[in-house]
């Protein structure tokens, strides 16, 4: 279980997160929604060790996670960053090899790569192409596949549907559910709130650095007050 406890993060003078607590139980999908600048990416980056909090803690099974980012990956927590951030100047295959950087032994890497090509056939077809030549949707698949290469326990997804056509958004969300069915724990950050909440077991609503609502995903999705005030969805 991954627990974010009373997290406070400041960038210079700005408080980006104010006493945020989130619990991500094993095997669940937890949603984190909110408007631009609410602090969603900051939360994910703090869990990943990329941002140092000024207060609070992140714990995995009770053990503090305030360690360098590369150590957090070794603990099985991997992020798919906002805007994909695939490596454009190396091939698809090389992107995947880097995803498996923490694995020991080439056989395991090869095996995982084949699994990714089964999961995302388009990546197999394009394995020798530079990452930068893929379409936006293909780059998102590559970003997810790259994260899965290290056999993570917990996947942190930062706006995976950003900039994708509706059909592809649906595909990505189905994929997220499928991965969860196979046992992966997921923290799903989205602005595309309705869809994200519908597949989340539990969800939090973040507004300017504070948690303002939480509950079962479907209930949050249907709560008219939450909808109107925080998600900008009118009936």
């Amino acid at each position: 279980m991954l627990v974010v406890e009373n997290l406070t993060v400041c960038y210079g003078g700005i408080t980006a997160l104010d006493n945020v607590s989130i619990t991500i139980p094993d095997g669940k999908i937890v949603g984190l929604v909110g408007a631009n600048g609410a602090g969603k990416s900051t939360t994910i980056n703090t869990i990943s060790g990329m941002v140092i909090p000024s207060g609070g803690n992140v714990k995995l099974d009770g053990e503090s996670l305030l360690i360098p980012p590369q150590e957090i990956v070794k603990k099985g927590i991997v992020q798919v960053p906002e805007g994909r951030r695939i490596f454009p100047s190396i091939t698809v295959q090389e992107n995947l090899i880097l995803g498996a950087y923490t694995l020991k032994g080439g056989e395991k890497v090869e095996e995982n790569m084949q699994r990714m090509f089964e999961l995302f056939p388009v990546l197999g077809e394009r394995k020798n192409q530079d990452g930068g030549t893929l379409s936006g949707g293909e780059q998102q698949m590559l970003a997810i596949a790259r994260a899965l290469m290290s056999d993570p326990r917990i996947l942190l997804l930062d706006e995976p549907s950003l900039g994708l056509a509706p059909k592809l958004v649906l595909e990505i969300f189905n994929m997220i559910q499928e991965l969860n069915n196979r046992g992966l724990t997921i923290l799903l950050v989205e602005q595309n709130a309705q869809k994200a909440l519908n597949i989340s077991d539990y969800a939090y609503v973040l507004e300017t650095g504070r948690i303002v609502a939480e509950g079962e995903g479907k209930r949050i999705a249907e709560d008219p007050i939450v909808k109107k005030a925080y998600l900008g969805i009118e009936e």
């Binding site: 990943s48 590369q70 454009p88 880097l98 950087y101 930068g132 290290s150």
Partner: protein, 294 residues
């Protein structure tokens, strides 16, 4: 120019160009990852030229042993420069100007240090390889130059394999477009940067040794780095292959022009040619642009 002289100059040019290529790649690999022009590379070259001289005259009498030792020490010096000079400002997230200024400062410091210490003496390397040249048909080729050419080619080939086939090498190439994201893959960026500086230092080590062997060692030997920087720019910043090819071309063109026009006019022709080339093709020979799609 008769055909014999042409071929001789061609071979000399290629092997001198090989050294330029080593410099272009050593300069370029740091630029790729950290995005600043690393003038301290010239300083490391100078340190290695003196180190090579010291080892060859005082410690061991073998070319291969002293070359290897200089090379490895070059790598260590490269890492030390990064840890002492660049890492502190990197950790603080300083803008690129700081890196640039620090790198020039290191180069000047090294130059002044050697000037003050041994500035008025010449330091010729011992003659490891008999001046007797190799005769191929009617061609006369210097053995030293052939050896330099062979080693430069071998080292650049080895580096290419490292960058393509190992995960650390791939990480270096990935970091050249994005230094932030590799951490999310569990890659220790600090370590990757150290490896990069080690590689640049190794290349500086070989360069320093070869330049010392070809010319004599002076405090200003580091200024040869300008040739490497020119090759890196002409090749296309960001493309190590381009830099390597441009280095060889530069050496060849230089050697041929010197034979034809003389040493005084040659630099003028070369620099003018480079300005024109960059006007026509600002991204260099092999420059490439990628876009991240939203």
């Amino acid at each position: 120019m008769n055909l014999n002289i042409f071929f001789q100059q061609l071979i000399n040019g290629i092997s001198l160009g090989g050294v330029y290529a080593l410099m272009a790649v050593g300069f370029g690999i740091i630029f790729n990852v950290l995005k600043f022009s690393n003038f301290s590379h010239g300083g490391v070259v100078a340190i290695c030229a003196y180190l090579g001289y010291f080892l060859a005259t005082r410690v061991a009498g073998s070319l291969w042993i002293t070359l290897l030792a200089t090379t490895l020490l070059g790598g260590v010096v490269g890492v030390l420069v990064e840890k002492l000079v660049f890492r502190p400002i990197r950790i603080k997230g300083r803008p690129l100007t700081y890196f640039f200024v620090n790198s020039i400062t290191v180069a000047m410091l090294v130059q002044q240090f050697f000037s003050a210490l041994w500035g008025y003496d010449y330091y010729p390397y011992p003659e490891f390889i008999k001046k007797t040249a190799l005769h191929i048909g009617r061609l006369v080729v210097s053995k030293t130059y052939l050896m330099m050419l062979f080693i430069s080619a071998l080292v650049l080939l080895g580096l290419t394999l490292f960058l393509r086939k190992t995960k650390q090498g791939i990480a270096i190439r990935a970091a050249s477009s994005d230094i932030w994201t590799p951490s999310l893959m569990g890659i220790n960026t600090d370590f990757i940067i150290s490896i990069t500086f080690f590689i640049a230092g190794v290349l500086a080590g070989i360069t320093g040794y070869f330049l010392g062997m070809t010319y004599t060692v002076t405090p200003f030997i580091g200024s040869f780095i300008l040739k490497g920087i020119i090759a890196a720019i002409v090749g296309g910043m960001g493309s190590l292959t381009g830099g390597g090819i441009a280095g060889v071309l530069l050496g060849v063109v230089e050697s041929l022009l010197i034979a034809e026009l003389g040493a005084a006019v040659t630099p003028i022709v070369i620099y003018a040619g480079i300005i024109i080339l960059l006007l026509v093709r600002p991204q260099g020979i092999a420059g490439k642009l990628y876009t991240i799609k939203a």
